[in-house]
Symmetry: C2
Subunit: 436 residues, 2 copies
């Protein structure tokens, strides 16, 4: 049974606080192993990557076998059934259309002193995309990481994906091709992250690494951060559904289960204004859990971390939602659009009962890489912005320097940074001599 809370109960605040503080993930401490692997790849390059791939993926490769050839990709893609290919193409097209609207604009203006000011955005030159192997090898994740990079203008996008025992996922290859991935390497784990960050004889280094992975991959990304940029380290998935009584309990149950089936550490919460509806949803979840393929995982997640919270009204619902700062938020209530405008902290909002969260995982258009573990309070989902950076621009004229230089000189002196002040003063002197 998941937790059942009501804001009308005396102990609500303490039970809700406990729900918020619940630790759902115990990451194994793999940092020492990962440090060794990174040092090994840094020192020995391809040789280390090949040895580690033989060891962890049971795959013996030659250096020229690290990269998946175009011929192999073509052969893999040919295996994908037409319906799946069409679905992936539709998803790629919608994700691209959404992200194209995120490309930021340059700016340049002159202010009242005549100074020119502005900024320019430029793409990261080379990015690396980590794609997990085995069961968690999701083609949708390739689209969600690779398309924003390519829309941003990243010139070189290198993907790594482990292929344990040599097994390649054809849909992942197709997704890479549809997204414009430039290079694919059949490696994984900390060794793949190290190869992307530091380069080897075969793999040129990149400037930024994104994509999900296991504890080894996450630890490796943390370690190479600074040398290269990384995206967020994602935690277990979460969904919060706010629903009134005017919904089909089975729809809502399936939405809750679509997060719960990801991971035993996932968390699904329903907030409802209707206690009877809350109980009906819990019953519908139990019913679906009788037959669901991944019922062991989804059942454990729902039992350990699931919750139904009954509130007096939608004001309470929104206030609790902002405290949870959920990764995914479904608003299945009358007036969902207006309610969406009152939400402050959430990774993605799904408006109305006809917008199941799963749409956002695949074909809606917005990114499915979103902030977890309450980090929507201070961070955003993956976007084009993660693959661009801004250079600020300033251009003084002699007259502009004459008007703002003296303030810079005074502040430099107050901070005891003499050369800062002198660099302005030397020019002001020239200006005062009429030399400009």
């Amino acid at each position: 049974m998941p937790a059942f809370l009501s804001t009308t109960e005396d102990d609500f605040e303490s039970r809700f606080a406990a729900l918020l503080e619940m630790k759902r993930e115990d990451s194994p401490d793999v940092d020492a192993v990962v440090a060794e692997i990174i040092a090994d790849v840094w020192a020995r390059g391809d040789a280390a990557v090949l040895e580690l791939t033989a060891k962890f993926d049971r795959l013996d490769l030659a250096p020229d076998g690290l990269r998946v050839t175009e011929v192999e990709i073509d052969r893999c893609m040919a295996e994908v059934p037409g319906a799946e290919r069409a679905a992936l193409e539709q998803a790629a097209e919608r994700i691209r259309a959404y992200h194209e609207r995120q490309v930021p604009e340059d700016a340049w203006w002159e202010d009242e002193t005549g100074a020119g000011l502005g900024w320019r955005w430029t793409p990261v030159a080379a990015a690396g995309l980590y794609v997990p192997g085995g069961l968690a090898s999701y083609p949708s994740s390739v689209l969600m990481n690779a398309i924003p990079a390519k829309v941003a203008g990243v010139g070189r996008l290198a993907m790594v994906v482990p292929t344990p025992d040599g097994v390649v996922n054809p849909l992942v290859m197709l997704a890479a091709r549809l997204s414009g991935v430039d290079e694919i390497y059949r490696i994984g784990g900390a060794q793949a992250v190290a190869a992307l960050a530091y380069g080897t004889e075969t793999i040129a280094p990149v400037d930024k690494i994104t994509g999900p992975g296991n504890a080894f991959v996450a630890a490796a990304k943390r370690r190479v951060f600074g040398k290269v940029g990384i995206d967020m380290i994602a935690g277990p998935s979460e969904i919060l559904v706010i629903a009134d009584g005017d919904n089909d309990p089975d729809w809502i149950a399936l939405d809750l289960l679509s997060q719960a089936e990801h991971d035993e550490s996932a968390q699904s919460i329903l907030i409802t204004t209707d206690e009877g509806f809350g109980r009906a949803v819990a019953a519908a979840v139990d019913k679906r859990l009788e037959t669901l393929d991944r019922r062991a995982i989804a059942g454990a997640s729902w039992r350990d971390f699931g919750a139904v919270i009954v509130v007096r009204d939608l004001d309470e619902a929104v206030a609790l939602s902002d405290r949870i700062a959920p990764e995914h938020l479904e608003l299945c209530v009358a007036g969902a659009e207006a309610l969406a405008e009152r939400v402050t902290h959430a990774g993605a909002v799904f408006i109305g009962g006809w917008t199941p969260e799963a749409i956002g995982d695949y074909v809606g258009g917005p990114n499915h890489v979103l902030p977890t573990a309450r980090s929507a309070r201070f961070s955003s989902g993956l976007s084009v912005m993660d693959f661009v950076k801004r250079t600020t621009l300033s251009r003084m004229t002699p007259a502009a320097l004459g008007r703002i230089g003296p303030a810079a000189e005074i502040l430099a002196q107050s901070e005891s940074l003499e050369a800062h002040g002198l660099s302005v003063r030397a020019r002001l002197n020239k200006l005062n001599e009429g030399g400009a």
Copy 2:
């Protein structure tokens, strides 16, 4: 003597690579100490903060003495001479005007299926600003961190600044007031970072922490990252000047020294098309080093990490600059505007000989918190964007779900995520029954 390189020399590539790889900073390993301090503040709150402040800052406070009162701030501000106050006001106004242009726009549109898509930006609710004490207590840094936060709409901005032996910097107080800082606490070090991240009886927790600090502060920020957001961990400052022979060598020397005087680990590099000019600048640096207040620091930086690089033409200069990816880049050449458009990796560009970098430190308008250590390849300076986050929005209609739902169902099945597919299928069934 700084390094003197020329692209016409046979060993240029290896010497330039060595310059790029040069390790300028040896951070002491303070992680264990910092972990203890954070755990202590987490467990004991104010009591721990008070004890640590007594120990490190030689300052005995009562809990109600942690916060600087409005009366104290007023009294401090009254001590600031008129010229400095006016300079700080001019700086604040220009920084605010620049950053107001960075506020990102919300978006909402309907696509050809009738699906509504978009995003909303919202400010971080509460931010913490770390300001170092003592010699590195820079009022300009308060403006550069606090103004973007307030422009973003951060509701609560709490500043921490250690006051060793009780000494308060009046200009820092004035800068905080001008920037709209809401609360000021006289604490510093890892204990201040922990207090901001976890909260104490007196200090409410924040969602994001920015601002520079020593090795303890940097280590504490790394440790609390995830619980709260943090800005980048800045390394020693850097400047690259690209100059032709048509410049006053003394101006360029002062620009190089204005970074060198920050820190013995700072790096100042001149790239010039004119070898004679390069030698004249080096001579001008030596001459200025005879009298500069901070000549010990600036001299060490210039000797150990400075460089003059002679290139054949500006094409070479831009290519080398992009490999360096400098924090600050001055373009003191004819056609500087056009050259600026060819620069790909730099934190801030200063266009033309009348734009000394020091202008950007204080009053230009752009932020002076910029990516160091080649991280301009993948990251940007501080901006309004650091204090907002984006929530993506989707709203399907029944018809829209009818058109894109089947693709989501197919992809969910291919990823073996049954509940994902069922959550779409249940709605499609209703639609097919004509129930929508």
